[in-house]
Amino acid sequence: MDWIKFAYLIPLLPLAAFLLIVFGFRFFKGSRISSYVSILFNTASFVLSCFVFLKILNLEHTDSYSGPIQFSLSWIHLHSVSGIIPLHLQIGILLDPLSAIMALMVTFVSTLIMIYSIGYMEGDPGFSTFFSYMSLFVMAMLTLTLSNNFLLTFAGWELVGLCSYLLIGFWYKKPSAAKAAIKAFVVTRTGDVGFLIGMIILYWKTGTFNFIQISHLNLPALLSGWLLWGIPLLIFCGAVGKSAQFPLHVWLPDAMEGPTPVSALIHAATMVAAGVYLVARTYFLFVISPTALLVVAWIGVFTAFMAATMALVQWDIKRVLAYSTISQLGYMMLGLGVGPIGFVFAIFLLLTHAFFKALLFLGAGSVSHPFHEEENPFDMHHYGGLKKKMPHTYWTFLFATLAITGCPLFAGFFSKDAVIDSAFQSRILTHNLLWGLALFTAFLTSAYMFRMFFLTFHGTKEPEHQVHESPWVMILPLMILAVFSLIGGWFGFSWYRLHLPWHDWIERFMNPYVQLYHIPVSHTIDWMGMGLGTFVFLAGFFTAWVLYSKGLRFASALENPIIKPFHQLFVQKWYMDEFWGLILSLFGFGLSSIASWIDTNLFDGTVRGIGMGTGGIGLKIRSIQTGFVQQYAFIIYLAVLILIIFVVSGGYLWTARFF
């Protein structure tokens, strides 16, 4: 049985869960059934993704592999008379290594997070609603992932944005949550405008939305002049918004107002990675334009650096993680931007990052669980010395920290450091600058992560609250994710040539891309890269240990005239919120004054006139309706009379000339 045909069920199963919960709402209310429904359908989707993944894996190692698999359905098909292009839009799914592994990751992580949410959301009045939104989100994310054309991708793209909005504002009674939801919506939408414009120009030039069809076209010939770098950059705008890259990163830290599982799933593991995925999916547009690639790389590395500096000074544990997410996404963009050499590593980082970042968020949720009566349960001022009280959380959190900071043998060591080294390997002078900045950021990463870790779990502070370990339903996903944070990296250290059986697994899996984009494969062991990676990890660790592990020694350092302005800059988030506020107000002021002038002088009169006019006509027509049946007959009769005169006088011959 060729069950790969059922791959379209992967996004449809979570949709079914969503519909079931929505329509069964009143039966599920106040019970856990909705969570079971979500998890069941999600698991089914995960199993299906596994099958698809294995199938693709097998296909590639046989001779029968003949490019990506697509299933398409006609969506809108209009014949039309002359003058208008026949419109034939399709929807369909595309199964290739990239989408298969992404779908696998999304379903896997979301299943674990849903299991975790049973414990976390226990007793919340919006329990069922929460799970329905989560299912809808997973469906949208999978649509985006598996789509074979821009149109469906865009639909999924907007739908994940909507779900993110709903879930950030889930506790909408908190004003900050409502505000953050709107901010996230507006900021990401700014980027989407670019995406939409780029997509439409591309359709106009190529006549199709299909990824594969476009990638087979001779693009440099079709897209001349500025379009060659303009289109990829317009599409990159969408990625900048969704993946929270500079300068549109400002929404992500505020998005932490949502429930923690939402932060873990949407704002760490999946949705924010969608921007990276989009760039990877449309990489055929980027590789033809070095300019576009350079912009991507620089935005990526600068975002990584800036976010890391801000993460250094945050006191809210979830905000530290949010900035770290932005920083890691910057690394992924860097990997894509340095050219094909970093492509595979960027994807690899995307996957491993999903595991350890989800784990970090869930761990933070677990940590904050006992503090839920505080005004801000995520404030690290409350924490300290939690190691003894929450051993499971502690150990899993440690694994994630080691993974993200690049401790040898953990996932980040293989993925993140590979991305950094790919910048070095590309042997372009400017790229070496990128590499330097990226390496320094790796040091900062190590520093801020351990700062957070020490502040939370070490120290001698005795917590005021009755601290307890979280329930098993929350711990179990943590443990699974911890295992993957450790071994996740082992599947892809080909670049280090350590010659284990699965040593170049990710590279082999990505083989179609390696061939498509002519990705050079290195055959030497890069001792220097490994050494430097380990070095910056250790440097960051010791910096944090010296400053934070043994009580707080940094207070005096803050008074140092050199450090103080930087500290101020970081605490104020590089004044980015103010920057946008200024732009908005300047722009808004200019625009609004023009608009108000037009409004008062031009439109208002007209609109009011039209409004009164239509209203007046409406009332007049209504007053004809007297309820007197013979009057209706009379009007019909008058109409008949007019029509008869129209015929008998030959008026139709006269009017026919106009058509």
């Binding site: 329509f23 098909h77 409406g618 049946v629 009057q631 015929v647 009017t655």
Partner: protein, 499 residues
């Protein structure tokens, strides 16, 4: 006529037998079990729907067959499936409108089926006599059903108004038919069309045009096009709610189907004459419907005017059918758009009327009394919102896709002003749909909560709303089917006639 030829009448025979069976059932069902009559009817209708589809797939889908003024083809079958869907939903709406032991339930459902039979015959008719009879078959039971609530003077008045206007237009139709017969010497549509096509001179025979105009007036009455629309709001307001749901959809679809068949089969020579008429009718119907709806407080009246506006949009499709495009008439967007919009209208309007039926059973008749509905009953409010947004044409719901096709058709026929007017009208219509939505969602009122709808109502609403969503998201289902349905109709008028 051989016995085996009866197969082309299977849909009609099935519906007629079910109607008669229900009458007998009403007689033998003991008191206290009467409610099952409705369920039985609904289940049987569902069986018919499946059965006809299977028949179509296996036996005679690509073929067209006719027997003396009765045509059976894929086009008719498409409409018959739509009618069955309407009567299925209307039956489910009605189940809880009756009290448990009410008399006359069997008759009521039988009358619904008789109207459906009339609609069946209308889209299958290829003879003016057949057309007239099926037109009457469609109307007479509806007159009765409008006045079905006998103790309510509003219901009687509604029946009277519908009857009087209906009878007058029947007389117009009949007189028109007699004039058409005078001009062409035949009542058979195919003979008539052959005559039209072969002799263009006939097309400008004033007697023929007079006859056709009078017939058109009768059709316009049924579909409530301006200025033949004035009965609609009054009748809708007074008639029982489930009857209105049925009345607002089935006959309109049937008449539009008949008009499509007439055009597709051979009104092309008369096209320059029609296009102006339909453009003007469409413009007036849309605009008057929407403007008047702005001020309506009563929900049924609001939906009546909204339905008038919807018909205006469909007439845009008729106006954009282009003249002298004989080689590929079905490739014209106009036909496809009309067929698609009918399905869109069916789902959206039935969902809205279903909810109005449910609300009126709980004493809510006005927009004002919807206050706080979103708090009291979020599911109903949500479903109502979806159906209203679909009527307004908001993506990704089915109404949007339908309007998109219609206006695209108008643009492709260079009727830019009409397309523009249509868009402006859609915007105007948003005002009153959103007024309802605002009342439901943002105006608070403490009050008793409204119970959840009954099982049958839930099933019906679910079907309608899922239709809105699924076809809206994946319109190819219907566009593909409508293309299949249209193609044989235009290429081969009627290939073989059974003797």
């Amino acid at each position: 006529m051989k016995g085996s030829h009866l197969i082309i009448f299977i849909p009609e025979i099935a519906v007629l037998s079910l109607a008669l069976l229900l009458l007998i059932f009403d007689w033998v069902t003991p008191k206290g079990k009467k409610v099952w009559i409705g369920y039985f009817s609904a289940v049987m209708i569902l069986v018919f729907m499946g059965g006809f589809l299977c028949l179509a797939k296996n036996r005679f889908f690509p073929y067209a067959a006719s027997f003396h003024g009765f045509v059976f083809d894929a086009f008719a079958l498409y409409f018959k499936e739509l009618f069955l869907l309407v009567v299925f939903l209307a039956t489910l709406f009605s189940v809880n409108f009756f009290k448990q032991d009410d008399e006359g339930q069997g008759e009521y459902y039988a009358l619904l089926l008789f109207v459906t039979l009339g609609c069946f015959l209308l889209v299958s008719s290829a003879d003016l006599l057949m057309l007239f009879l099926s037109f009457e078959m469609m109307s007479i039971p509806l007159y009765v059903m409008c006045a079905y609530r006998k103790k309510d003077s509003k219901s009687s008045e509604s029946g009277l108004k519908y009857f009087l206007i209906g009878a007058i237009t029947s007389a117009l139709l009949l007189y028109g038919i007699s004039l058409v017969y005078a001009a062409t010497g035949t009542t058979n549509l195919h003979a008539f069309i052959e005559g039209l096509v072969s002799a263009n001179k006939l097309a400008y025979n004033p007697i023929l045009l007079l006859g056709l105009i009078l017939m058109l007036c009768a059709f316009c009455f049924k579909i409530a096009a301006v200025p033949f629309h004035m009965w609609a709001p009054d009748v809708y307001e007074g008639a029982p709610a489930p009857v209105v749901a049925f009345l607002a959809v089935s006959p309109k679809i049937a008449v539009i189907g008949l008009m499509t068949r007439l055009f597709l089969a051979g009104m092309q020579p008369l096209q320059p004459f029609w296009v102006f008429l339909f453009a003007v009718l469409a413009a007036f119907t849309m605009t008057v419907g929407n403007l008047t709806a702005l001020f309506q407080q009563n929900l049924k009246r609001l939906l009546a005017y909204s339905g008038i506006a919807q018909i205006g949009y469909i007439l845009v499709g008729f106006a954009s059918i282009q003249p002298f495009f004989k080689n590929m008439p079905t490739l014209q967007l106009g036909y496809q758009a009309i067929l698609f919009y009918l399905a869109a209208y069916l789902f959206s309007d039935l969902a809205a009327f279903g909810i109005v039926t449910y609300l009126s059973a709980h004493g809510i008749e006005d927009v004002k009394s919807l206050k706080g509905l979103a708090e009291k009953n979020p599911m109903i409010a949500f479903l109502f919102l979806i159906s209203l947004l679909s009527l307004a044409g908001v993506p990704p719901l089915v109404g949007f896709v339908g309007k998109f096709y219609l206006f695209l058709a108008a643009v492709s026929s260079r009727l830019y002003w009409l397309a523009l007017l249509g868009v402006v009208n859609s915007v105007i219509s948003l005002f009153y749909y959103l007024r309802v939505a605002r009342t439901m969602y943002f105006e608070k009122e403490e009050g008793v909560s409204i119970p959840y709808p009954s099982f049958s109502m839930q099933v019906a609403l679910l079907v309608a709303v899922l239709g809105i969503l699924i076809i809206g998201i994946y319109p190819f289902m219907i566009t593909h089917f409508s293309l299949q349905v249209l193609t044989p109709l235009s290429n081969v008028p009627i290939s073989h006639v059974m003797k």
